[in-house]
Structures are given as C-alpha cells and as structure tokens.
Symmetry: C2
Subunit: 321 residues, 2 copies
C-alpha cells in the first residue's frame, strides 16, 4: 500500500461494522496518522451511568476484548449482575454484562471528577493499551430520536427494547446543531496533513448521520481537499448487520449500495461497494468514483485488506482531483 | 416467650452484628410488629451510585443472601466487574461484587425516578421477599466523618480504604442535626403500641450514634414509656467484629461492656451483656437493669434465642417501671 507516512486519516465510525474497519486501519496506519471519531448519539443514561454503545464497541474491538459472536459487549462475559437486577425488579431489557459494567462505572467516575467524555475515553483506551486515537464525535450530549408509528423513541428503546419492530417515519438528532465537535475530531479535520476522510460501513442513518449533523461539520469536510470515501454497509441489497436495510425500507429509500450513495450524495469523492454489487456500477452517476472490492469483513485479514483498499482508493481519488 | 402480639418493637441497627439480631427478631415477631431502622451515615457515593453498606447487610441477611464468611456483601459472589475496573485504572479499594452491584444500580434507578431512599429500600426488600419493615434512619444524607491523626476521613475511606489504621480523635455526623427521621422510623417511634426499643449489638460510635444524632430522636425516645434496651457489642473486653474495640481505645473509653453502657447512659432502661461478662454486673450502677445471656450469635438458633431474651427482658423492665 502506498499511503504516505505523513498523510493522516480521519475515520467516522459507528458500532460493529465501523469498528471492524477501524481495527483494520489501526493495522496499516501509525497511531499519529489515524483519528477514529465515533458516534455518540445512541448513548443513553441507564442506572445513572452513561452507556456509550458505539464508543465501547470500537474500544473493545481495538483492545481485542469484543464479543465476536454478538458484535457488541465483551467476550468472556458473565451476567450475574443482570440476574440480580432481575430479582430486584429492575429494568433488564438492556443487557449489561459484569465486565462491561466496569467501563460504564469508570466513565461515570471520570465524568463526575469533571473530565470530558473525550478525556474519559482517552483514559479508558490508554488503560486498555489502545495506541490509536479514539474520540467521541462531541463532548456534548446528542441523542437520536426515532419517530415511529408507535411514537417517538430514544434510540436504545427502539433498537434494543423494541428490537427495531416499530416502522420508522423519521430520525432526529436532538442537540446536534448546538453540539461542538470534540477537540479530537476538530483537530483531525483541521490538520493540514489530512489526506482522507473515511466513512466506515456503519448505519448511515443512525451512526454516521449524527456525526454529519454536528454544527458546521459538513462545511468543514467540504472545505478540505482530503478525499472523502464511504464504504457501503449494504451488500447485495442486504445489511451486513443491524437495522440499516429495514430503515431504508421504512424511509422509502432504494435498498441498495446506490441508495446509500444517494444518502451521502454531495459529500463523497469516492464510494466503495462490494464485489457482489459490481453489476450496479453503471447505475452510479460517476462510475469512475466507485471502487469494487471485498467489503465483507469476516476475519482480521479482511479488515486489513479493506483498510488498504480504502486508502489506496482514496489516494487514487485525490490524484484525480 | 411472652411478648404480647399487639406490642411493637423498634430495632436500631447497623451492619453485621445488628443484622444478626434483626434476623432473630424477624423469627419471633410478626411483620407488623417490627420496624428495623438502619444507620445510613456510612453510605457513600461511588461511581455515581449510592452504596448503603448497613442497609444492604440487613437486607441481604434477612433475604438469606448474605455472605456468612465476610459478614458483608452477598454469598455466591463473583468479581468480574472488579477485575475489569482494575484493568481500566478505576478505584477498586471498595470491593463491589457483580451480584451486589445490582442493588446499587437498582437503588440509583429508583432514586433517579424521584423515589426516596425509604421507598427504594421498600421496593428492594419487597422484591427479595422480606416481609418485615426495613427502613433507613433518614431519607436525607447524613455522613460519618472520622477525625483521625491523618486528618478527616469519610467513613468508608477510614474503614475500608485505610483499614481502620489511623487513630480516631473524634467522630462527627455531618447533616444529622438537620436530617428528618424517615417516615418509617418516625411512625415506629410514635406508635402508641410501641413496647420496646432495641439497640442492636452494632458499633455504638459509628452505627448507633448517627441514628441517635438525628434531630429530636433522643427526646422522642425518652418521651416514650417503651423499654429501651441495648445489647453490648463488646464481650470479654473484645469486639465480636469490626473496629468497636479499637475506637474505644482511641477515644479513651473503658474497653468493656460497662464502657458501652456508659456511652448510652441516660437513654437505657436495661442492658444485655454476655454470660462471659457476668462478673462485671456489680460494677454497673443499677445491676438489676442488667441482663446476662449468650449474646454471641453463631447460628440462627443463637440469633432467635437472643431476640427472645431481649424481648423477655424488655417486658420485665417495663413491668419494673
């Protein structure tokens, strides 16, 4: 791979799918070359703790502590606290594992000491031996509200408690327009050496859109000459994981990689789709801006390969401009 | 035992020793006959949760969930969260077990919903099948501050983190003089059928004294004709458990059951000491107000026997007046 050592990369990332590509990127870029900015709009307060599902999925994935079967939470987990919560009549629809609880307790303690979410995240990732920079999109609270046929739901209520059953009519990001970018995200965006902005194959509507809803970020991205590349989370008209496909259906969007591209539209310089969707290339308005490769990341090799493909594609797109 | 069925009992109680006698009382009194009012001055905020060591020890003991070896926490406990907290660099001097965490999380959720500590305690004890009334001494925050030769320490810092090593120079109960009695404690004190107030064999200085420091409670106790009985936590010049003996030494008090009696002094109508201290009886100012029996509670039978002894003694003292 020919990505220059002095060129930096900003990855915008949600949970599971995004974390896989983020892990690949950490294997091909030095710590100082990469910033992973993570969606925090599906964070929520539970038992007085701040649960940050996407931040924690990225953290566990980079630290090698993630549960590879479920995609969320920690591997080697136990559920004794949850069993006891049930006995006490407490809410147990959000499954907090015993080991996972530690990250929420630690974050609560750090926030209570007056640290920002960025500082708490830095402390946690450092303790877990993560060298690369993982930052929340903002230190201010932004919350995804899903407007459904059963009324408005907070994201985790929709996603976990209601298992994505209600039909989605709209999605809003409460607080986003007033939320300043975190220092880590802002610094990455303003870095003169920024060579690429990579939108990971996360859910466009609830994982990436909240980041893009932050005040001024779209303008900042467009001002930069860095290549903006997204990877489609839709492969062969299906979502690899999670409710992306169902949301596209509910929202009346075309259920294909092209539908995702149209959603990001004016922001992208290039778009990565899966080999299985090669036949779609000519349907895109600028086919030379579409790159086809394997995007289904089953093992670490796949994650590293996709990271390399994305960077090489970004370098070639930059040369195009 | 001849305790009348229409006569009620109020037990004032700290952690381990108090919980044992409280358990005995639940076996000899009907649910509506007994109120167990528990010290909350060693409660503390940890990871944003409210940890209530004495309330929880009583709760676990009455529910049969307590750890019979340590005296605190739950039996059948695991420590996965604590291991992970360590890995994340969080404070682990206060050992929170996985199952124990559930009670703190549940209480946080209930308090965040606007319930009082009394209401949260009622919900928790009800879910655990505890029929008798367990109430915090107050719903307001009262905090024990230990003045030591190493400066002022919050109780759990002194007790758990510093392992009671610093010498005690004084003890204060921050907030006590403004803290209203909980409704449960107030109702028990005002109940016309109140026949006995039992001070359990808990630490007089940090478990019982905070209850007695609440505004107006001593006057309320003295106004009642109910017999006020205490059980000595000091047996043969040693504490059964915990730092009582060390505190008596540090505070320059006589290290014996007599020293405990002198501490409670004007409040008591009768005092229960252990068989091993029978030789001390004549040193008490009113030996006929001293009752000797086995107070070392090794098994459930001991707990029930001591409860019966205390009630019978209270009935005989009442007859004296």
């Amino acid at each position: 791979m020919n990505w220059p050592q002095d060129s930096k990369v900003l990855a915008l990332c949600g949970g599971v799918g995004g974390a896989k590509l983020a892990l690949g990127l950490t294997h091909v870029l030095a710590a100082e070359q990469l910033t992973i900015a993570v969606n925090t709009a599906d964070d929520f307060e539970h038992f007085g703790l701040l649960v940050c599902p996407d931040l924690d999925t990225v953290t566990y994935t980079l630290a090698g502590l993630n549960n590879t079967e479920t995609g969320w939470g920690r591997g080697d987990e136990s559920w004794h606290c949850l069993e006891s919560l049930e006995q006490l009549g407490a809410d147990t629809w959000f499954r907090l594992g015993d080991r996972d609880l530690a990250i929420h307790l630690t974050r609560r303690a750090l926030l209570d000491q007056g640290r920002t979410l960025s500082e708490a995240t830095a402390s946690i990732t450092e303790h877990l031996g993560i060298a690369h920079n993982v930052v929340p999109m903002s230190d201010a609270a932004v919350r995804t509200i899903i407007d459904t046929d059963e009324g408005e739901l907070e994201f985790q209520q929709y996603f976990v408690r209601e298992q994505c059953q209600p039909a989605v009519r709209g999605i809003a990001f409460s607080g986003a327009s007033d939320a300043p970018l975190s220092a880590g995200l802002r610094n990455a965006l303003e870095d003169p050496q920024l060579g690429a902005i990579l939108i990971c194959p996360s859910n466009p509507f609830v994982s990436v859109a909240p980041i893009l809803a932050l005040a001024g970020i779209k303008e900042s991205i467009c001002r930069r000459t860095a290549a903006v590349i997204a990877v489609s989370p839709i492969v062969a008209r299906k979502a690899i994981k999670g409710p992306t496909a169902k949301m596209m259906h509910d929202l009346g969007l075309e259920l294909s990689a092209l539908g995702v591209y149209q959603f990001y539209a004016d922001l992208l310089d290039g778009f990565v789709i899966d080999e299985q969707d090669r036949g779609l290339i000519d349907e895109f308005p600028e086919p030379h801006r579409i790159h086809c490769c394997n995007t289904v990341m089953e093992d670490l090799g796949d994650r590293i390969s996709l990271a390399q493909e994305c960077l090489q594609f970004a370098a070639s797109i930059e040369a195009l401009e």
